[in-house]
């Protein structure tokens, strides 16, 4: 068959060669990604192997870190889990609330808008008055509290008087911009602004509940802490009273957990927003049809999207587990004492790596840190894989 040869058309063999090159380029990219993941696991395993041989599984429940020969990572694992758990407890209600606001509250009918306006004006005014009252009568500067109150009031007025589509776009844009801020900024802001704020406003609450009224909360005793070998006495440790007792340091696990909460809010919020948007309209219309209020209809929508929201929460947990710089600035880096109080300085695996990996003292020190890094990697991989199964199936459903 004669080949059609018009000017400007390449020959068939050139086409075949270029096709082959493009295909192999794409396959090379795919192989590169596979190699990256495999290389990550293998290199970390080989780097940690002497430590794995020496400590085995007892690495996970021993509490020792003398930086030369003996290592046990239980305190860092505790710190990682605790700070991430605190972050989740604080961030999930706020992010899901923000997502519900964007998807369900704002597009509702005008009547709801005026309910919002009345509702939050009352709340904002109350908050502002409370904070000013506190600052005035306790003679503290209260600067950050006043700034927060002014911020809330400004946002509130913006919400009351803005059109729906611009409002949704603007608010979601601002919340997603929280994810773009680098974590050293969170670290510096945290230690200069948030930690004193927690010390001034959150510690007294816990002190009032768990110290002044500690007899209400000494439910059961887990043992003793600060055991003194000479007097053979230690302080008894009650749960939950001793667990929540504020201490002198403000660089503690609770502060790290709260800054992590700020950091994972945009992730949970944006994925929850996507998940809530693909809920079929028949559900809420049916609920309204049988006479539900807005909140009852929203409860129906939320229970429909349970799996997606759970996936978003798990993705946020994955991010919180791996967060380094902000946590290292705030958490105080104490790696050899097991955690018995969320108000004590601790460490997470990432903060341990950030503070001690640049200058390891011995080879075993470095290998133990790589062992801890391997543990963190495996946990993060599991969590991200699980979250992906829950979330992506909903995302792909939307695209079809």
């Amino acid at each position: 068959m004669p080949s059609l040869y018009t000017p400007g058309q390449s020959s068939r063999t050139l086409n075949c060669v270029l096709d082959f090159l493009t295909t192999s380029g794409a396959v090379a990219g795919m192989l590169a990604i596979v190699t990256m993941l495999v290389m990550l696991v293998i290199v970390l395993l080989s780097g940690a192997w002497p430590a794995i041989q020496k400590f085995g599984l007892s690495f996970f429940w021993t509490s020792r870190w003398d930086k030369t020969e003996n290592f046990g990572a239980w305190p860092v694992i505790q710190g990682t889990l605790l700070s991430s758990f605190i972050a989740l407890v604080v961030a999930v209600p706020i992010s899901v609330g923000a997502a519900v606001f964007l998807v369900r509250v704002v597009p509702s009918v005008r009547g709801v808008r005026w309910q919002i306006a009345r509702g939050f004006v009352a709340v904002i005014l109350g908050a502002v008055l409370f904070i000013l009252f506190n600052a005035f009568f306790s003679q503290r500067s209260g600067g950050i509290a006043i700034a927060l109150a002014i911020g809330l009031a400004t946002c509130g007025c913006t919400i009351a008087f803005m059109r729906n589509n611009h409002l949704i776009a603007g608010v979601s844009f601002l919340i997603e911009l929280l994810a773009a801020i680098p974590s050293i900024t969170y670290g510096l802001w945290g230690i200069m602004v948030m930690v004193p704020f927690i010390h001034d406003y959150v510690d007294p609450i816990f002190t009032w509940i768990f110290v002044t009224h500690k007899t209400w909360f000494q439910w059961f005793q887990w043992g003793v802490v600060n055991y003194n070998k000479f007097t053979h006495k230690g302080e008894p440790f009650y749960f939950p009273a001793s667990f929540f007792t504020p201490t002198a340091t403000s660089n503690n696990i609770l502060s790290a957990g709260l800054i992590l909460a700020v950091m994972i809010t945009p992730i949970i919020s944006s994925i929850t927003r996507d998940v809530l948007r693909v809920v079929p309209k028949d559900l809420e219309q049916g609920a309204y049809g049988v006479g539900a209020t807005w909140w009852q209809a929203t409860k129906v929508v939320l229970s429909y999207s349970k799996m997606g929201i759970l996936g978003a929460v798990i993705l946020g947990l994955g991010r919180a587990l791996g967060e380094t710089m902000a946590v290292t600035t705030i958490i105080g880096s104490v790696v050899d004492k097991p955690v018995y109080n969320i108000f004590q300085s601790g460490a997470t695996i990432s903060s341990l790596l950030a503070s001690e990996f640049p200058s390891p003292l011995t080879d075993m020190h470095r290998q133990s840190m790589v062992y801890a890094a391997l543990v963190l990697l495996l946990v993060t991989m599991l969590i991200n894989g699980a979250a992906r199964i829950m979330v992506i199936s909903i995302g792909r459903r939307e695209r079809k």
Partner: protein
């Protein structure tokens, strides 16, 4: 629970259809206000952080930040650090720019190639699905573990160098670019590809002349978002780059080489956290420069692509 007798007559309720159950109405109002408050709180936090950054950073912002360098004066006999003058962050800014460029050079082609494979060329279903799973896993790997990986791979055999740092940043960048490239390529309608094959184009011609240009806006968006993410990374650079105050280009006597310890803005900011308040001003100013660059990149990209992506 006893019924609350309505304050207005049944006639009015028949029109509105709203429940006259007091508890439901009160709960409703409370929950609406709570959801609004949560959104307000999330927004205010952002404004607080950025506002504080601007407030603290502008007071220490001056031209010396961009034109001068920190100097540490060591006693030549004992080798101890005698004095350190914090004059500027010029080497850090140059170093970060070079690092971003170098890591994009390695990471972006790999990412786009993988995205193209997943969207266009994957035929075996289980292979494509597992590669997608691997990409999503790699996106979620903590960046400090990537730093540990490249420490073991490059720094232990050789030395602290910019290659290790750039490779770590490229490792972080490639899966992000791959994921967004695949999403953007999937958004190109199938009819484009079918029309192109219909007029006789071969596969590579379809890809390079029809599909990629159609998705180019979104792909560039994804690349810029990945660059903005990588620009703010500190953890992987902590122990792959080292620390130095030498400029990267210019007329200095000794410039920082790529195969030796390299300056970086983020690492310099991190190292100045331990200084006292007077010198922390430089940390704030440097952070203002870094964050404004990242936020402008993010905001611009999201604003210009709000029609292409499916989210508002």
């Amino acid at each position: 629970m006893s019924q609350v007798s309505p304050a207005i007559s049944i006639q009015d309720h028949a029109f509105t259809g709203r429940p006259y159950n007091m508890a439901a109405r009160v709960t409703n109002a409370i929950m609406i206000s709570l959801c609004t408050l949560c959104a307000l709180l999330a927004m205010s936090l952002l404004l607080l952080i950025v506002g504080y950054l601007i407030y603290k950073g502008t007071s220490s912002l001056n031209w010396a930040l961009f034109t001068q360098n920190n100097q540490t004066i060591t006693d030549p006999q004992t080798g101890q650090v005698v004095n350190s003058i914090r004059a500027g962050l010029q080497s850090g800014i140059q170093g970060t720019l070079v690092l971003i460029g170098l890591s994009s050079l390695f990471g972006v082609p790999v990412g786009i190639a993988c995205g193209v494979y997943l969207a266009e060329y994957s035929r075996i279903a289980w292979l494509g699905n597992s590669v997608r799973l691997m990409v999503d896993i790699l996106v979620g790997v903590p960046s400090i573990i990537v730093g540990v990986l490249f420490y073991q791979l490059v720094v232990l055999p050789y030395q602290l160098s910019a290659w290790a740092g750039a490779a770590a940043l490229a490792f972080i960048m490639a899966p992000i670019v791959a994921r967004t490239t695949e999403e953007m390529l999937r958004l190109v309608p199938k009819s484009y590809r079918e029309a192109s094959i219909g007029v006789g184009a071969s596969r590579y011609q379809t890809l390079f002349r029809v599909v990629l240009p159609a998705a180019s806006g979104g792909i560039i968006t994804g690349v810029m978002l990945a660059v903005a993410r990588v620009a703010g990374e500190t953890a992987p650079l902590l122990f792959t780059l080292g620390a130095t105050d030498c400029n990267v280009w210019g007329s200095d006597k000794n410039l920082a080489k790529l195969s030796d310890q390299f300056p970086s803005l983020t690492v310099k900011i991190w190292q100045s956290f331990d200084q006292d308040d007077q010198q922390k001003g430089q940390a704030w100013a440097g952070m203002l420069v870094l964050v404004s660059m990242i936020l402008v990149l993010n905001a611009g990209v999201r604003y210009f692509s709000r029609n292409k992506m499916t989210r508002t």
